[in-house]
Symmetry: C2
Subunit: 417 residues, 2 copies
Amino acid sequence: MLTQHFSGRNLNRVKAHNLQAILMSLLHENQISRAGLAKRTSLSSATVTNLANELLAQGIITEIKPQATEIERKRAVGRPRRMLRLVPNARYALGVHIGVGLFRIALTNLHADIIDNRIVEFERATPAAEVLEKIALEIEDLLLEMAIDRSRILGIGVGASGLVNHDQGINVIAPRLGWNNIYIQAELQARLGFPVRVDNNVRAMAIAEAFFGAGRGAGVLAFVYGRIGVGAGFVVNGQVFRGSGAGAGEIGHTIVVPQGGQECRCGQNGCLETLVTEPVIIRRSVELAQQHPESLLAKYMENESAAAPSIETVFAAARDGDELTLKMLDDQICYLGIALANLVNVLNPGMILLGGVFAQGDDLVRPIASKVMRETAFSGLGDDVIIEPTSFGWRAGVVGAAALALMDFFYQTTETV
Amino acid sequence: MLTQHFSGRNLNRVKAHNLQAILMSLLHENQISRAGLAKRTSLSSATVTNLANELLAQGIITEIKPQATEIERKRAVGRPRRMLRLVPNARYALGVHIGVGLFRIALTNLHADIIDNRIVEFERATPAAEVLEKIALEIEDLLLEMAIDRSRILGIGVGASGLVNHDQGINVIAPRLGWNNIYIQAELQARLGFPVRVDNNVRAMAIAEAFFGAGRGAGVLAFVYGRIGVGAGFVVNGQVFRGSGAGAGEIGHTIVVPQGGQECRCGQNGCLETLVTEPVIIRRSVELAQQHPESLLAKYMENESAAAPSIETVFAAARDGDELTLKMLDDQICYLGIALANLVNVLNPGMILLGGVFAQGDDLVRPIASKVMRETAFSGLGDDVIIEPTSFGWRAGVVGAAALALMDFFYQTTETV
DNA sequence: TTATTTTTTTTATTTAATAAAATAATTAGT
DNA sequence: ACTAATTATTTTATTAAATAAAAAAAATAA
């Protein structure tokens, strides 16, 4: 039985905490006066002055010259406040998203805005060490090209698929890459000299949304990502929720059809992943097109040159009113709705964000999933849940990864079980 | 959109935090030296001495006289350590568990050991105000009888069923009592003068287990309680998880049979509650006994004088080897296993504790639920989960309630979304 | 008896927050 | 134009609490 370690909070931690409280406020408010910061953080104005001076000296924040919003000046009796603002490009972070057969690298600023990004493909059989070496080379090259001072790089965040040991930065299992116990953190840290953070990629996306995206201010945020599988990441009140063994969020293997469901690659029957992933929907579409060669769906597929049709073709047919496709999507997506309802019943999130295929087909997917979720969730629990697509689109992966590095800067308290 | 409030941690909070770190260590360790506390809390020995002196002056801790464990004295080169111990009866807490038609009250010490307790029945139609008045009277009476100094009572914890607004101490909805928006905290606080904490009863049980019971040291703890319904409570690293609207843990209305499931009182079909609650199992047993009058189950039921058979009768038949009953339990409980697997996939808890009927029939329920859970959970996620019955038995309700009050003493940081 | 070891306490120092006072920059009223 | 009022920010002096370093205490080992 693991014994908890109740660390007594030493004084220096207090300052770090207060600094981070100020930074987080600046991140949320865009511009805010010292007085406003004092109110928001419940620190004294003197403390805010002191800490703000430190941040100003470091160039992380700046004073806005002319009082930007001239309109609300009418309320201005008394000494006018001097607004402070984060300097987004004062520091940078690097995000690495490792996908199947490709990785993306992005350089972002403190707002998690992408400054530059690259996509590199690799053979699926490439050994992990080689992929990491490629990543390191690409990062070196990117930094050189952008002429970024290395001292302004906060660190590197890596979003990996599968099971990730966050504390040690190890990709424990990545089934689709055949990776086992890859020491990503140690490797990249040694190679590049920056602090490295590794986490599950969907969890990283959840973090990005919670701090820099649509999830800001949501008490409990669930990010649900669908592509080849379905995964979820949770952020609770600014704390990442990883579970006891970093395995939280395997929503894709939640059983939604306990009897007679299709067999899943995990060995079980009736997992959510057997119903609503990209490959499953494409497979169902191919079947439908074969059964109904006269349908719009079949026509759209014929026009496609690729061997396998893309999910966009399916969505296009649905958007253009193909009843068959719409019906099929309805039949499949309703299970996502049930899974979300189960999630809502258990976690009671304030917001659910959808990413991956679910965001690509947002106009088709969300109405169904949302409706079923609300109908199915217990006693109005689903009514107040905000459901939206990810605010980062295809960037979710790299931005999420970069967010891992940014978090150490903004909010040390990201550690949880 | 609710804006988060990043409270800057002021200095006095540091001391409170460190005191609580010390108290928590004392709670976990039973006896520990100042040096040990310094190591465990990573505070300096000077700080520990100071804080320990304050606690000694308040009578909350004491020095153990003769070095209790004489055996391990051999390692004693150097000045011998002087062990400190919590004085369990230095302070007390009151726990109130409000059930359907009855409430329980318990006086506990700092270890959450019950000093005295009472059960009071009331008509189900009694107005809430009247029930609260009865509770207050009973508490006054208990304190008088036990001759407890009011200044040593830390506070009152109340475990209520249904939806509870913890911050305001309001029982928002208690369907089975027909209560709506009952201001339990305000009412009892005004009436009795003690601080009052109110929370959902299952959540309270989870807290009790996490701090005083089998769940100590578990990173993510899930407490699953079955009686008339099925609910769950979660404690994550010593923080209660309540969800955005205090609605987390409604596992009973998780859909486990999406098509063709029985209708639930919540309006949905196929909820877990339609399969594994006490009334459902009794109803299934009655049906079975009617169909098979020669069975052991039927005989046991005949012997019972009560109108409806008790769950204990059903369990007795199963324990005595009645195949019909065993088969029925297998068929029903396997759905609990599926629900637990879904829970494991989503939350990845380190420990699941079962309470209520599940604990009553632990020898029958747990093997099935545990087996199905482990078979069904994704890729070995279930393998490391410890499943056990509640360590408090029927006391779980009141001990849980008392734990709500004790938490303010031991661990202020119990607040989460 | 002395050296060593470990624990606990004391003393002096340091850090950081903060209350209170001072200063600054404005509007409103006369 | 001048004064009062108001609000924001900075400065000064104070305070709380942690902690490093030193001292003291209480034992064993040689």
